[in-house]
């Protein structure tokens, strides 16, 4: 008996893979049903729906880049401490000291690529009219994912703590100060005033302060962005991606004519 078959008959192998190699129709169906990672997919798909000329593979690319971000991001977390004292030097050391010195590059360029891919995915979904019924709500979920992707990238931008980072975030977060009603310099900032002139919106309580945890980009902002970037937003995005994929299937698979 060839060694391959012998391995496939061991108890160990069979406990992992519940069926023989997917070489015939029956087992090709089986593998899609019994494998956790593959069961994201339906057992069979319409040929045109998966054509590269139709989807441009941009949704899949976005998801793949998200996974790359998760893996490289976790590895980066081993090296990086989000404090004013260490942040910059840790990032510096990533290039000079760490083994596999391209970790940061992989993470940063994949992040850029993910932002581009998600925009192009949305563009494709629009162009093929795939948001039309019954997929309206999945489009809405998609928009939330778009926003989360941008926020992921934005919060990560601060972490190297160099001039590029803090000033980009300063420019960005200055906008929060102008939020209507809730920002110190936004229209209607005085609306939230208690009876005898006690203002609720102050430099220490307006929208920018909430975003940064301080009046300007500082240690508290670094910590806040770190937690958002490494925990909160990835969790939210993962959840929405799961819902997104679930809905793609429940809405009848990738769209097609008729």
């Amino acid at each position: 008996m060839p060694i391959r078959d012998r391995i496939a008959r061991t108890q160990l192998w069979k406990s992992v893979f519940r069926h023989p190699m997917p070489t015939d129709r029956r087992n090709r169906v089986q593998v899609m049903l019994s494998n956790f990672f593959l069961h994201l997919h339906p057992v069979s798909v319409q040929k045109q729906g998966i054509a590269l000329s139709y989807t441009w593979c941009m949704g899949g690319a976005t998801f793949f880049l998200f996974l790359v971000e998760v893996v490289t991001g976790v590895l980066l977390m081993f090296y990086y401490r989000p404090t004013l004292e260490h942040a910059y030097n840790d990032v510096l050391a990533l290039r000079d000291v760490a083994t596999l010195g391209v970790l940061r590059e992989l993470h940063r360029w994949s992040a850029h690529a993910m932002v581009i891919a998600v925009m192009l995915h949305m563009y494709r979904v629009f162009l093929t009219g795939s948001y039309k019924p019954p997929r309206e709500f999945n489009w809405v979920i998609g928009v939330m994912l778009l926003v989360l992707t941008l926020l992921l990238s934005f919060t990560g931008y601060l972490l190297p703590w160099d001039q590029l980072a803090v000033w980009a975030i300063t420019v960005g977060s200055n906008m929060a100060r102008a939020t209507p009603v809730l920002g110190l310099e936004g229209p209607g900032a005085n609306l939230l005033t208690l009876g005898d002139g006690v203002k609720l919106i102050t430099p220490a309580s307006d929208a920018k302060y909430v975003l940064l945890g301080g009046r300007s980009v500082g240690e508290a902002a670094l910590n806040r962005f770190y937690v958002l970037h490494c925990v909160a937003i990835p969790l939210a995005a993962s959840l929405l991606i799961m819902v997104h994929f679930w809905r793609v299937r429940k809405d009848g698979g990738i769209s097609g004519p008729l």
Binding site: R28, A51, L65, H112, M119, E136, V143, D162, E185, P257
Partner: protein, 525 residues
């Protein structure tokens, strides 16, 4: 003359044109030898083809490109290896281009002299069978020759750079472009280009036209790279992805328009759309899973190559007392930062993003056109296409490009070949609408009571947001309102007006130097 280019840049340009030449040689070979059947075209009843890629050419090409790659990989150990590799690859390019051109001419000659298939009344697969909607068949001989000539020319340019030939963009051209460039010309030019592309999509969808545009872009970009200032901006590590975004957005737009043109023509002829031709289902294993696997491997390789080639930027440690000039937000927010030129932060930074998000979410509920679901089309949803593409391509991508590449210190505009001079002074003489109305039109002092002073602006705003929608709903959008219902249509029209507000305000700034329509501190619009 050469102050802008150093040996490294010359070598880079030499390889750039080598690739451009290879691309054109491949195009020439494609036109000369390939079976050119457009998407969904019917080939039943055509005579079999006789054009064949010559058997000897394949091994010879492998024998040239292969060693070239090998030598390139080992260049550290082989003195002069880079030049040798270049020579081999250039030779291969030239060989491919010339053989393709010559063979195309040869095929034409055989046919004209009564050779293969010339006696048959109907066309053969040797001809180009175009897809519906894209015009007639092309002259394969002519175009194989054209692309092979282009390949040879590009290769000649590349060799010139290899031997340090002083080919740079002439300074009068740079000065000319810089003096013509400005936020107004750039934005309006892009908007016009967009409108023309959409309007003449049947022409643009033609592969020859598109490939011609690609070649022109390659040449323009290559020449621009000889300018130090241009190079500095496009090769800033964080800006490189945006070059990619431009290429991808343009390429995908072209693909979508092309398929749209074909589908629209097919529907007009009563044929099924391209997407309906493949109705059968396939098993996810292997068809889908393998596509995914191949995509993942390809992307992994791509990412690793990118990461090795381009170090991530790390500037000086943060100093909260020393703001860089210009201080730019991350690139995907630069369109919004550009809006700061025209709007106050509460609109540019908060109002507009919120409207964008709400507007995007609303699209599926506002677009009640049942046509165009699940296939590419342009003709059956012209309004949706024009609006969304304008929003995405012009208001989002073009403004990102503007903010990234053309905005320098103090957020001043700089031409593509202009040095970023932090002391450049641009006179600002913007006026408010109240100035225009009270002082210039009525010739009197502005009233000091703010509500009265701002009355013209407030009236204009009220008209735009409250009076215009009902008017539009009864005129331009009458059919839409009848179909979608008044409430839905009203939301759609208001969102459209908000979106149109951006280019409108921009145009008011360019024509009237208008700063604010309503100037009430904290509520400037």
């Amino acid at each position: 003359m050469l102050q802008d280019v150093n040996p490294g840049v010359l070598a880079g340009l030499a390889w750039y044109y080598l690739l451009a030449s290879a691309l054109n040689a491949a195009a020439a070979a494609h036109v000369a030898y390939a079976e050119m059947v457009g998407e969904g075209a019917d080939v039943a009843g055509l005579a079999p083809r006789t054009r064949r890629f010559p058997g000897w050419l394949g091994p010879v090409l492998v024998g040239l490109y292969g060693p070239a790659l090998l030598i390139l990989g080992l260049r550290g150990w082989i003195p002069g290896g880079t030049t040798a590799a270049y020579g081999l690859a250039a030779l291969a390019n030239g060989l491919l281009a010339l053989t393709a051109g010559a063979d195309a001419a040869h095929f034409a000659e055989v046919r004209a002299s009564g050779g293969v298939h010339a006696d048959e009344a109907h066309p053969s697969l040797d001809d180009h069978v175009p897809a519906a909607g894209l015009g007639g068949p092309i002259n394969r001989t002519l175009w194989a020759l054209v692309w092979s000539v282009v390949a040879v020319v590009f290769q000649a340019i590349g060799l010139t750079y290899l031997f340090h030939g002083p080919l740079v963009l002439p300074s009068f051209a740079r000065a000319g472009v810089d003096s013509m460039a400005g936020p107004t010309t750039f934005f309006l030019g892009s908007a016009l280009l967009f409108a023309a592309t959409l309007r003449f999509r049947r022409v643009v969808a033609n592969g020859l036209v598109a490939f011609g545009v690609v070649n022109l872009s390659i040449l323009a970009f290559g020449l621009s790279l000889t300018d130090g200032d241009f190079r500095r901006i496009v090769s800033t590590p964080d800006n490189v992805p945006i070059v990619g975004l431009i290429v991808l957005a343009a390429g995908f737009t072209w693909l979508a328009l092309r398929r749209g043109v074909i589908n629209d023509a097919r529907r007009a002829e009563g044929l099924p759309v391209l997407e309906a031709l493949e109705q059968d289902r396939v098993l996810s294993w292997p068809d889908l899973v393998y596509i995914e696997l191949i995509c993942m491997v390809a992307m992994t390789l791509f990412l690793i190559a990118w990461a090795v080639a381009l170090p991530a930027p790390l500037e000086q440690p943060a100093k909260m007392t020393e703001a860089p000039n210009p201080a730019k937000a991350p690139w995907y927010f630069l369109g919004l930062q550009e809006m700061l030129v025209y709007f106050d932060p509460w609109l540019a930074g908060v109002g507009i993003p919120v409207v964008i998000i709400v507007g995007l979410c609303a699209i599926p509920y506002l677009d009640v056109n049942e046509e165009g679901r699940g296939y590419y089309t342009a003709a059956s949803r012209p309004f949706a296409m024009a609006t969304f593409l304008f929003g995405f391509l012009v208001l989002w991508v073009v403004l990102i490009v503007l903010g990234t590449f053309l905005r320098g210190p103090n957020w001043n505009f700089f031409g593509p070949y202009e040095r970023w001079d932090p002391y450049k002074v641009v006179p600002l003489n913007n006026v408010d609408l109240s100035d225009l109305v009270w002082i210039r039109a009525l010739g009197r002092a502005k009233p000091s009571w703010a509500p009265l002073r701002e009355l013209p602006g407030l009236a204009l705003l009220a008209f735009y947001l409250f009076a215009l929608p009902p008017i539009l709903l009864r005129t331009l959008f009458k059919g839409y309102a009848a179909k979608a219902g008044t409430a839905r249509a009203a939301v759609a029209v208001v969102l459209l007006l908000l979106m149109a507000g951006l280019p409108l305000k921009m145009m008011l700034r360019w024509t009237l130097n208008l700063k604010y329509v309503v100037a009430i501190p904290g509520f400037n619009i």
